[in-house]
Amino acid sequence: MSSTSTHAEVTAADTAGRWPVLLLLASGLGWLVISGIFALIASIQLHSPTFMSACEWFTHGRVGALAETAFVYGWAANAGLGIALWVLGRLGGSTLRAQNWAMVGTLFWNLGMTLGLGGIATGEATSFAFLELPRYVQPLLVVAYIAIGISGILAWSGRRTEGTYASHWYAVAALFLFPWLLIAAQTMLLWSPVRGVLQPIIDGWYVQSVFSLWLAPLALAGAYYVVPKITGQGLPSYEFAPLAFWTLLFVGTMTGGRHLIGGPVPAWIPTLANAACWMVLFHFIVVALNLRGALTGGGTSLAFISFGLLAYLAGALLDAATSFRGVAVVTQFTYFTTAQQQLALYGGISMLLLGSIYFAVPRLTGRPWTSGAFVRGHRVLAMVGISILVGSLAVAGWIQGTELSNAKTTFGEIAARTRPWLLAVSVAQGFLLVGNMLILANFLRSVSGVWCAGAVSQVEAFRQPTTMEVHAS
C-alpha cells in the first residue's frame, strides 16, 4: 500500500476538526451512561414498587422522565450531532468551519441539559413526553443547537463538490429541522399552551417528528457514510434513495397519531397515522436495500450498523402492525408500546450511531481503540441487552394487554404475571449499562492518549481501511 491511501484515510477534516466532534461524542457517551442508571432504577421500580419511592426525586414518573430526557437530548442528540458534523466535514472536503461555535454550543447545550435534569428531579418536569425539560432551559437549548448546527451547515454550503450524497441530505435535514420543531412545540405547549386534548395531540406530533425529522436522519447520515466506506462498494438501489428521504420527511411525521387510537381526539388523527405508517415503509425498505451490504460485511462498525438496520426496519413494521385498531386494543397502554419505542430508539438509532462512532473515533484520534476487549464486551452486552430488553417488554406487554381486556383480572394479578419478564428487563438494563460504561471508558482512554501525546498517527493501522476493524475486534 502506498502512503496516499494513508492520507486518504485520515483526512484534514479528522485531524484539524476533531475537537468539536470528540467533545460532542464524549458528552453523548457520558449521558448514555447516566441515562442507563436512571433506566435501571425505573425498571427495578416496575417489579419492586417501593424501590427508592420514599425519595421524592426518584418517583417512577420522574426517573422515567430523567432516563428518557438524558437518552434523547443527552446521548442521541450529542452523538448524532457529532457524527453529522464529522460526516459533513469529511464530505465537504475541507476543515470544519465555525469550530468555536460548535464547541461553545455543545458546552451550553450540556449546561442546559444538566440544569434541566435537575429541574425534572425536583419536580419541574412538564409531563410532556420527549419535552420534559423545564420551560426555563428550552430557549437555551434552541440557541445552543443553532450554534452547533452552523458548523455543519457551513460545511454543506461550502463543499468542494457540486453533487450531494445521501449523508448530506439526512445530516442537513436534521440540523435544519430540529430548531423549527423545538420552537413550534415549546411555543404551543409551554409558552402559550393550547387547550385541552390539543396538548397531547401536539405532543404526539412532536415525539414522532423528533424521531422522523431529527434522530433517524442523524443516525442514517452516519450509516450511509460508513457502510460504503467499509464495504468499498457503491450502494445498491441508490436511485431510490432521494425518494426514500423525502418519504420519511413528508410522511413520517404523520404517523404520531397511532398512540391516540380510541382516545378523546378527532378520529382522523389515528386514521391518518394508520395510513402513514404503511406509506412510510417505503422509506424503511429502501434504506434496508441501500445498506444491505452491512449485513454481510465483518467488523465492529458493521456489526452495530447491521443490528441497528434490522431493528430500524423491524420497529417500522411493528409500528405499522400496531396502528390497526384491532391490534392496538391489546397493545395500547402496555409495555408493548415501550418495547416498540426501545426497539426504535435503542435498537435502531443508538446502534446505528454506535456503529458510526466505532468507525469515526479511530480516524479522529489517529490511533485504534485502546482496548479490543472492551469493544468486544460492549458489542456482546449491547446486542444481548437490547434483544432481552425488547423481547421481555414485548412479552410482558402482550400478557398485560390480554389480561387488561379481561375485566376480572386485577392489577395485582397482572403485576404478578408480568413480574418474571420485568425482572428480565432489569437484567437487560444492567447489561446495557455495563456495556455503555465499557465504551465510555474505552473512548476516554483512546482520546486521552491524543490529548497527552499529541497527534502522532499510528500510520500502519491505516494501511487498509479495514485494519482498524481488525484491531478493534
Binding site: 421500580q45 416496575l46 414498587p49 417501593t50 419511592s53 420514599a54 421524592e56 418517583t59 417512577h60 414518573g61 420522574r62 422515567g64 419536580g123 419541574e124 418536569a125 412538564t126 409531563s127 457540486e162 453533487g163 450531494t164 441530505w169 442537513v172 429541522l177 423549527w180 420543531l181 413550534a184 399552551p193 393550547v194 387547550r195 385541552g196 386534548v197 390539543l198 396538548q199 395531540i201 401536539i202 406530533w205 425529522l213 432521494p242 423525502w246 420527511l249 413528508f250 404523520m254 404520531g256 398512540h259 380510541g262 378523546p264 378527532p266 388523527i269 391518518l272 395500547q332 397502554f333 409495555y335 408500546t337 398485560q400 387488561l404 381486556s405 375485566a407 392489577f411 395485582g412 403485576a415
Partner: protein
C-alpha cells in the same frame, strides 16, 4: 433538487410545514375553540371548571409523574374493557378536558385509569386516599401495590389535639406522634376526588352500529 441548496431548503421547510400544518394546526382549527355544553334541563353548562385546589393538585400529579403509570382517558364500551372495569360508562371526548390546564391523558396503564376516579365505586374518602398514598397498600389488601409516598406527609409530634386529617390508623401505633398530609398531599387528594366525567355529551353517546339483516329493506 438535491444539488441546489436553495430548493433543498425549500423542500425541508415544506416537509416541516406540512407536518405542522397537517396535524397541530388542523386539529387546532377543528377543536381549538371547543365550548362548554349548555344543558337546558339542568340550567348549567358542562364540563364545570375544577375548583382552584384541584387545579393546583393537577400540578402535583404532573410533577410527581403519575402519568407514567395512569391514564385519564376512557375508551368506548366495545373497545377494551374500560367500561367493564368501571372506569367510565362512556368514552372520553375532547370536551371533557377543555378546562384542564395540562391534561394528563397518559399512554401506559400499569395502574388503573383515573378519568372518573372521583366517582368510582365503592367510594373512598380523603382519609382513605391519604392512607393509600402514605403506605402504598389498598385498604383491605396486605401487599404494597403502589409506591408509597411518605414525602407527601409530615411526621410531627402531637401538640394539643390530633390534627383533623392525621392518618387515623397510625395514630395509635406511634404514641405522641402523628402523620399529617402536607399542603401538596391535600391538593393532590382534592384533585383526585374532582376527577369526574360523568356528564353525557351528545357526541359521547355510544352508537351501536345497526347491521342490516339479509333481505331487510335498506
Amino acid at each position: 433538487m438535491m444539488k441546489n441548496g436553495f430548493f433543498f431548503f425549500i423542500g425541508l421547510l415544506a416537509a416541516f410545514l406540512l407536518g405542522w400544518g397537517g396535524i397541530p394546526l388542523l386539529a387546532h382549527k377543528q377543536i381549538g375553540a371547543l365550548a362548554p355544553f349548555y344543558d337546558d334541563g339542568e340550567s348549567s353548562s358542562f364540563p364545570t371548571r375544577p375548583p382552584g385546589v384541584a387545579a393546583r393538585g393537577q400540578l402535583v400529579y404532573a410533577d410527581l409523574g403519575c402519568v407514567a403509570c395512569h391514564t385519564q382517558q376512557v375508551r368506548r364500551p366495545d373497545f377494551g374493557s374500560d367500561k367493564a372495569r368501571g372506569w367510565g360508562d362512556r368514552q372520553s371526548v375532547a370536551r371533557d378536558y377543555i378546562f384542564q390546564g395540562r391534561p394528563q391523558l397518559g399512554d401506559v396503564r400499569i395502574g388503573p385509569d383515573l378519568a372518573n376516579w372521583g366517582v368510582r365505586k365503592p367510594p373512598v374518602d380523603a382519609g382513605g386516599i391519604a392512607q393509600f398514598l402514605y403506605s402504598g397498600v389498598v385498604s383491605g389488601a396486605k401487599a404494597v401495590t403502589h409506591p408509597p409516598f411518605p414525602f407527601l406527609f409530615d411526621d410531627r409530634p402531637i401538640v394539643g389535639e390530633v390534627a383533623a386529617d392525621a392518618l387515623v390508623a397510625l395514630v395509635d401505633k406511634t404514641p405522641r406522634r402523628q402523620i399529617v398530609p402536607t399542603e401538596r398531599a391535600r391538593t393532590l387528594i382534592a384533585y383526585l376526588q374532582s376527577l369526574n366525567n360523568a356528564y353525557e355529551y351528545p357526541e359521547a353517546r355510544h352508537v351501536v352500529p345497526v347491521v342490516a339483516k339479509e333481505g331487510a329493506h335498506k
